[in-house]
């Protein structure tokens, strides 16, 4: 009898419960050097192009229904002529203890084996709970069936789903690029090199403020930057354990 149970246990080891891995295969993270950010929004534009984000137009912006998965927040301090503008890029923080994952009743959002907080569009029923529970306001909802104007529909990224009406979406750390590079490495029977995976925002940042990498690899550029004394995370007191690490401004 015990032999049978052991056999079953052995077989069940292969079926790890999604979202509750003892150990992740990777821990992808982004380090953003706020000191280098000049607020040019090139990362936002590249995110739109890479992830098939719909452009909502003037009315959509007025209704606060913009699809910027990645946004540059501007905070303005002081009065003219002594004005200081501060920028901070905010995207999904891919929290290790994500509040949104608790809220979803249907497991449309969960943690995958790469340490990413992923959204399954087809599973989403649109209860808005994840977006309500998110302290970072990074989730975006498909309010309508969006159309792309004439030349724009030609440039849709074939690796990324075009989301339908009524589902929630958010920054994925360009999971299609992660998968692509991992598959190529698997075909070549080699390991993924550090810096081989580039998210769209990291690739397009002219000042190199955004760095993407694997925190599990102690030699990676991202691990070294994350160990910096300037590092902090957004709202650490909320204990969400974000995967995005910010480096403090040093000037002024």
């Amino acid at each position: 009898m015990s032999g049978v149970i052991d056999k079953i246990k052995e077989r069940l080891k292969d079926f790890r419960r999604p979202g509750y891995y003892k150990e992740f295969d990777h821990h992808y993270a982004i380090v953003i050097d706020v000191d280098r950010c000049n607020g040019c929004e090139a990362c936002v534009v590249s995110c739109y192009a890479e992830n098939n984000l719909p452009v909502v137009g003037e009315q959509g912006c007025e209704d606060n229904r913009v699809f910027n998965w990645l946004r540059i927040e501007r905070y303005i301090e002081g009065e003219y002529p002594d004005v200081k503008v501060k920028f901070i890029p905010v995207m999904c923080q891919q929290c290790d203890a994500a509040p949104c994952e608790i809220g979803c009743p249907v497991y449309a959002t969960y943690h995958n084996q790469d340490g990413l907080n992923v959204q399954v569009y087809n599973r989403c029923v649109g209860t808005f709970t994840c977006a309500t529970y998110c302290p970072y306001d990074v989730r975006r909802f498909n309010w309508f069936s969006y159309k792309w104007d004439k030349p724009l529909d030609e440039q849709l990224n074939p690796d990324v789903t075009v989301r339908e009406m009524g589902v929630m979406e958010k920054c994925t750390f360009c999971i299609q690029r992660i998968r692509g590079v991992n598959d190529k490495a698997k075909d070549g029977k080699r390991k993924v090199k550090d810096g081989e995976i580039q998210t769209a925002c990291a690739q397009s940042c002219p000042t190199g403020a955004i760095t993407f990498g694997d925190l599990m690899d102690p030699e990676s550029k991202v691990s070294k930057l994350a160990a910096s004394k300037r590092g902090y995370k957004l709202f650490e007191n909320l204990e969400t354990k974000p995967s995005v690490i910010y480096l403090k401004r040093v000037m002024d």
Binding site: D63, N64, R65, V66, R71, E73, R74, Y75, V90, P99, I102, G103, C104, P105, V106, Y107, R123, C124, V125, G126, T127, F128, T129, A131, T132, Y133, P135, Y136, D137, R139, R140, F141, N142, W143, F144, S145, M165, G166, V167, M168, F235, L238, T240
Partner: protein
Amino acid sequence: MSNNESKRVIPYSEVNDDVLRTMTKTGPGYYVALVVCFLLAAGLWGGAWFYQIYVGQGVSGLQTPAFWGIYIANFIFWIGISHSGTLLSAILFITQTPWRRSIYRSAEAMTFFSVMTAAIFIFVHMGRPWNFYWTMPYPNQRLLWVNFLSPLMFDVLAISTYATSSMIFLYFGSIPDLAAVRDRTTGWRREFYGWLSLGWRGTDAEWHWLNKAYGFFAVFIIPLAVSVHSIVSWDLALSMVPALNKTIFAPYFVVGAIYSGSAAIVTLMIFVRKFLKVEKYITIDHLSKLCMLLLVMSLIWSYINVMEVFTGWYANTNYENEAMIYRMFKSPIAIIYWLMIATNTVAPLFLMFRSIRRCVPIIFFISIGINVGMWIERYLLVVSTLPRKYFPFMWNSYLPSLAEISMTVGSFFFFAVLFLLFIKLWPSISIYEVKEDIGIPRKKPHTKEMDHEDGSPTWYI
């Protein structure tokens, strides 16, 4: 009633006749009301909802940080209304309070109908309502399961259990009355109520088991009702939104629910006794007792409301303070906040006076005011907090769109349609328990002046 010798004693047969009259004698006004309510419910709610499903959730005023709006406020409001039936029926049954008997049937029906209205608001609120069955935990070929960590999943289980139990509770208590209606009607009614009364004959064994089952459900449904509204509060309290994640939310919501439900039952009872002409069963005494209940609930609610502000202030974090100040002192949110305090804390204090408790127009306005105030409370909870979370860059304000307002108004007519149908199809006053209230008739010693004209004896209690 037995203490009051001067009051005319209602004969048992008159109780049957009166209740039956409310079901069979229908004036044209009823049909006009039913048709108008149905058309308004279908047009304002059904039409707007169809438009929303067709075009997308974007027709609502929901926007990026304010993902929950008036739909969730309505959902909490209707779930709150549903708690009156449980209180009046179950708690007062267990404590053997005599004045529950003539009003509890309508209160139970109100419970069931408002749970239905609330449940539909969940679907209205969903982005893809046609996939609602994905939230049901049953083994399926999709090989997917539901997330039992989610407070919304608690909601699905709690509300479906509550709806089922309150329906069974309503039905069990009505069986002897359905049989009474069956025995006094002909045609389709006899067939229909014969089927519904499950062959009730009124034997000792049947009464025994009915009482057992009813007592069991009364005990069963009280913790259920408390759990339902606690769970609804956790939808908000388990989030990380400033001013929402507070441990006091579960008792706050349960008390608020009983409060708003009792106010709704007062409003409804005033309508029922007026339009069904059953003032001799739902007397001013009953309304006065309900007003005492309202007064007590208003004091408890006000206390918890103060405690909610106190816990926020005591936490002394930037987020909590900012949210509190925004809700209480910044126009326009502050205006409706203080309106809520006026209707829910100040106005019910007048119920302390006996003369006001016995004045129907005044208690009607106070109860309507409490309902409005409780709706404002739920609206404020959602609207004053969610658009203003942690990033000031993302702050904005939410205003409901025309479609949302239309559905909100339509839901009241939907409830009205259900209740109007209930009044005609179901004995809305418990026949057998009103008779218990009247007491056991005894024959009075023969006196000339007390005798009826036809020579039949006078019965008294």
